[in-house]
């Protein structure tokens, strides 16, 4: 979601032009498969593990990770979605309306929550998500899975499961979807 919104917001507003494709559809699939194994390994199985995708970019990825987990382990971890708009620290600095529903139809107390997002950049979305999770209960642990870690953190936040580490410049934009990952610029 961060990337998506950033693209619409000055000084970013404009049209995204892909320059290079850094991952292909098959790479994405393999990364999801590996991250699935890592999640199971880290949590010694899937007992008490729930998956929450961040709206909007993290939701398809969370769904795919959940089905990978199901294929690998046979268990079906609960799957939710979270829109962090109301918890962001830049409300008022840029146009910000929630885009998609939050659905967490299960209790988080004592669970290990795997937050899923497409791109990890400044870390501010994740900070907002951690804040939002507090209103749903007290998870035993929160872990973070992202397809792309592009650096430039502004907060002490690090991912637990990463599809790809991708060094970027701040003026670049990373576009993640099922068919691959594109690196490019937004042109006015």
């Amino acid at each position: 979601m961060a990337e998506r919104e950033r693209r619409r917001t000055p000084p970013y507003g404009g049209v995204f032009i892909a320059r290079t494709q850094v991952m292909e559809a098959e790479d994405i699939k393999r990364a999801i498969w590996r991250m699935g194994h890592e999640i199971i390994e880290r949590n010694h199985g899937l007992d008490g593990v729930v998956i929450i995708g961040l709206q909007t970019g993290g939701v398809w990825l969370a769904t795919d990770i959940a089905s990978a987990l199901h294929e690998i382990d046979g268990a079906e971890p609960p799957l939710g979605t979270l829109d962090v708009a109301f918890h962001r620290d830049d409300i008022g600095l840029r146009p910000l309306l929630p885009e998609a529903p939050t659905r967490i139809p299960f209790n988080l107390d004592g669970q290990a929550v795997v937050l899923v997002d497409d791109v990890l950049y400044t870390g501010r979305t994740i900070r907002a998500a951690l804040d939002a999770l507090n209103s749903y209960g007290r998870p035993r642990a929160v872990q973070l899975a992202v397809m792309v870690d592009r650096g430039h953190r502004e907060l002490p936040i690090r991912p637990d499961f990463v599809g790809k580490n991708l060094p970027t410049r701040r003026d670049e934009v990373v576009d993640v979807h099922r068919e691959g990952v594109d690196l490019g610029e937004v042109v006015k």
């Binding site: 998506r4 693209r7 619409r8 507003g13 049209v15 909007t56 829109d83 708009a85 109301f86 918890h87 409300i91 008022g92 600095l93 840029r94 146009p95 910000l96 309306l97 929630p98 885009e99 529903p101 939050t102 659905r103 804040d131 939002a132 507090n134 209103s135 749903y136 209960g137």
Partner: protein
């Protein structure tokens, strides 16, 4: 948008935006901890010159669930009793730096005037017989929630239209969204300019009930009975009340709505109010989410419009 003074400030698109946003706040209200930090540091002042239970409480709950601070004000315990004018009271409250002022007053147009006297956002919470925009918004939200959409619905508004700010705002909102509105009331309780409203007027409740999606009852304002507009309450109920027998003629699934406070047994029979298609408590619940959406739009969302036409 800076102020919410009239439903016309929003238009169909704005009403729709409030409803979509209210969906998110409905979800927030269902969380184990129904509170978000969105308006932390903002202050909302309540300036109520008229009695109110649900509107005032609803705005206060809405502001608190968004983590805003609330400044209360009630006429009975303030300097208004010492003769302070509205203008001076607004100047005093403004000097304390609220971000929004929620105004209710017995005279039409006061919120519009207040908007000219303060740099805060002003929300009209009812002015005289004129407008009550947040009530109309929560009614639109309730109809949308129950029936899927307001567009194309046949809505009958019955009762004291003349003295009702709710009726004025609701007619504007419902027709802006494409509903077909019919007013049913005794001639003495219809506004003089009703011909210019985008509605049908019918003098018989029995003629319209079997063919509507929503029956919207208004309170008979008993404080105005001295004007001799009605022969008696019993006669009103006999001819214009939504009695059990009349309610039986409503199509299956038709809603019975009322903005409250309700005179049980006068405009609507008590048995009718307790049926599952009566939405009175839902309207109150939705009122909180809708007012959160309004506060959010006025105080948090950036005034810059969002670029259109991009894939999301």
């Amino acid at each position: 948008m800076k102020h919410l003074l009239s439903i016309n400030d929003l238009g169909a698109e704005g009403i729709d935006e409030v409803c979509r946003l209210a969906d998110h706040f409905t979800e927030v209200s269902q969380r184990p901890i129904p509170k978000v930090p969105t308006l932390r540091g903002k202050t909302v002042a309540m300036l109520f010159y008229e009695d109110s239970t649900r509107t005032r409480l609803s705005f206060e709950v809405a502001a608190r669930r968004l983590s805003a601070d609330v400044m209360g004000f009630s006429v009975s315990s303030s300097s208004v009793n010492k003769g302070e004018s509205v203008r001076d009271t607004v100047a005093t409250i403004s000097a304390m730096g609220p971000d929004a002022i929620v105004v209710r007053h017995r005279s039409a147009g006061v919120p519009h005037q207040v908007a000219g006297w303060t740099s805060a956002s002003v929300i009209n919470a009812g002015d005289g017989w004129h407008e009550h925009p947040t009530q109309a918004l929560l009614d639109c939200y309730t109809i949308r929630d129950r029936l899927g959409s307001v567009a194309g619905r046949r809505i009958v508004i019955l009762g004291d239209i003349k003295h009702s700010r709710v009726a004025r705002s609701c007619v504007m909102a419902f027709t802006a969204l494409g509903a077909k509105v019919t007013l049913v009331a005794p001639a003495t309780l219809l506004p003089p300019a009703v011909d210019s409203w985008p509605v049908d007027v019918c003098s018989s409740l029995d003629a319209v009930l079997s063919d509507c999606d929503v029956a919207y009852g208004l309170r008979v304002q008993q404080e105005r009975q001295s004007e001799a507009l009605l022969p008696s309450l019993r006669e009103y109920t006999a001819q214009w009340g939504l009695t059990v027998a009349r309610a039986a003629r409503l199509p299956a699934g038709a809603l019975v709505m009322h903005p409250g406070p309700v005179n049980r047994g006068v405009e609507i029979a008590p048995e009718v109010l307790d049926r599952p298609n009566a939405t009175l408590n839902e309207q109150v619940r939705h009122g909180v989410a809708v007012r959160m959406a309004v506060l959010y739009l006025l105080l948090a969302a950036d005034p810059e419009p969002r670029p259109q036409g991009e894939a999301s």
